[in-house]
Symmetry: C2
Subunit: 341 residues, 2 copies
């Protein structure tokens, strides 16, 4: 039988009230008694029944998930995953609301964050680029007692409580290792594309990618990153140039956001050239391309897992519970057509 507060009280030779005071850090308790209670807790192996506690407290968790606004396939899959997870959680005393912000305008982001009702906010999961303004806003939220986790993009300088996502350096390494093996007997160059290099994610992936290629695959040469700012014409044109300039092109590595444009420009050329294509993020576009054979592999973080993990971690933080590391570890997955889910 699991011990209850009553057992603790009896064991420690104090009243229920005192146990409660100690357990919940309320008014002053004589150190001697506090120690006795803690000793009893240790001895009996008491753990608070969070469910009963939440019932008594009529606890509801109030969480916000901050996502970039604007059309972006990947963000949409994240949003969908969050909605799914929130729906499954709603039974479980959590209210989750998605907040969209214009991430290209740091001030707008901060304005929106400051507009949150901090008085009844328990936690925020954020997928936003880190700027000084955002850093301040996070400090502000935290000072109000809410917890903050970074989602997908880490916020290393913002003293977040947790990061839910993959290590992008490793993800880049994985892409590099995969291409290295796909082209293990070949020599040539690899086109590296992204929508924009301002996102730290792309930079980190690129570093990981280069590191592996340089170290393990000297037969392959990664070309300078091509950034096409969500401009289909630009990518198409740039791609034509690149193909002409590098007749030894063997592969394309799309580091994220902008897969659609990249694929559009590539249409019909991959097969003829025997190009290997590796991209990031599972979206309707990459899914389709995998099925078609236009993409050979996609490096993925399971967005469902990310969303559920974020909510679980926020909850654990609120309950001051230990988080179950193994479960919250987001894996870097390699998806081929055959293990697509």
């Amino acid at each position: 039988m699991k011990p209850t507060v009553h057992d603790i009280a009896r064991e420690a030779g104090v009243s229920l009230s005192t146990v409660d005071r100690v357990l919940n850090g309320r008014s002053d308790v004589r150190p001697k008694n506090a120690e006795r209670v803690k000793e009893a807790v240790r001895k009996l192996g008491y753990v608070r029944d969070t469910n009963a506690a939440n019932l008594a407290k009529k606890r509801r968790y109030n969480f916000k998930v901050v996502l970039p606004e604007g059309a972006n396939h990947f963000v949409e899959t994240v949003a969908e995953a969050v909605r799914d997870a929130a729906n499954a959680e709603v039974t479980d005393r959590a209210d989750v609301e998605i907040v969209h912000v214009n991430t290209s305008d740091p001030h707008a982001v901060v304005k929106r964050l400051k507009a949150l009702d901090l008085s009844e906010l328990d936690g925020v999961a954020m997928m936003v680029p880190e700027t000084p303004q955002v850093r301040d806003a996070i400090a502000h939220i935290k000072s109000a007692g809410a917890y903050v986790v970074a989602l997908v993009s880490d916020l290393p300088n913002s003293r977040c409580d947790h990061f839910v996502g993959i290590d992008n350096f490793s993800a880049g390494q994985t892409a590099g290792a995969l291409l290295g093996r796909f082209l293990r007997r070949e020599t040539g160059s690899i086109l590296v594309t992204t929508s924009s290099m301002v996102a730290r994610d792309s930079i980190e992936r690129r570093h990981g990618f280069d590191e592996i290629l340089l170290r393990n695959h000297p037969n392959l040469k990664a070309l300078p990153t091509i950034e096409f700012y969500d401009d289909p014409d630009r990518i198409s044109e740039t791609l034509s140039h690149a193909l002409a300039a590098h007749p030894d092109l063997k592969a394309v590595y799309s580091m994220g956001s902008g897969n659609a444009a990249m694929l559009g420009a590539l249409t019909g050329r991959t097969a003829a050239l025997g190009l290997v294509v590796v991209a990031h993020d599972l979206t309707p576009v990459t899914r389709q391309a995998l099925m078609n054979g236009e993409i050979d592999a996609v490096i993925v973080q399971n967005v469902g897992h990310v969303a559920r993990s974020a909510l679980r971690v926020l909850r654990a933080k609120c309950d001051n519970a230990t988080i179950y590391e193994a479960q919250e570890q987001i894996r870097i997955e390699i998806i081929l057509r055959e293990n697509l889910y």
Copy 2:
């Protein structure tokens, strides 16, 4: 505010007792009133607070996890994962016990299963090969009101409540597709090994593997499966033969259990021959081999995920709750050294 049973009673114009009788399918209630209650439930969107209910019932879930006994790296990682998951669950009113059975003796398995105290058993997760005897034992357990899920190995003819694991046909396809891409410009044969072909898993993997190779990679030829019955001498000798007989050998595909023996026999030869090696299951052995570069890729199902999923599903079944499909989907993962976790 979420509606409670009291709200339902008020809405339906009946007493709490009647609501309870309807909700818990107890003694007879006049159809008219039963309908009223159900209507109120629908109208107010009532969902039972499982935590409060469990608290009131002093509910404890009693689960058993049946695993093969004997030394096997993969089974050990599963057992470890189950212990981990059970530890995290113990706070949450579940008691989980691992039961080891000698899977090579169907009668021993059944004997052990029949010895379970069915009176206070809520669910069983089983990783055992399907035999007629096991099928009967499962029917027996289910008739006692407990739920049964298959773990890792499906039990398709046993009317289990759920299967927690990967589709091995797809896993084999994935292995085939991976090797096909690793050897995309090469021609040659592939050695396929397993500890024993009696396990359905190996058969399914082999089918998936062949299907992809035949369809997409005519340049590669998969050799007949070599079974070495956990006998290191045999595998070493067989391997020598195979290497001699097939100078065009380009890769080795180890379909599961027996990776250690296969690797042992292969030691030192891979590098010289430029062999690509793909195996199944993440164990200390394959992990080490990935780090060493003796294995190029491992096809994996995350055992932590498997263990947690099994317990969650059992619980959901017991509560008659809907299971959250997206979360319980076990993915086929491809692990390289770079995305090893």
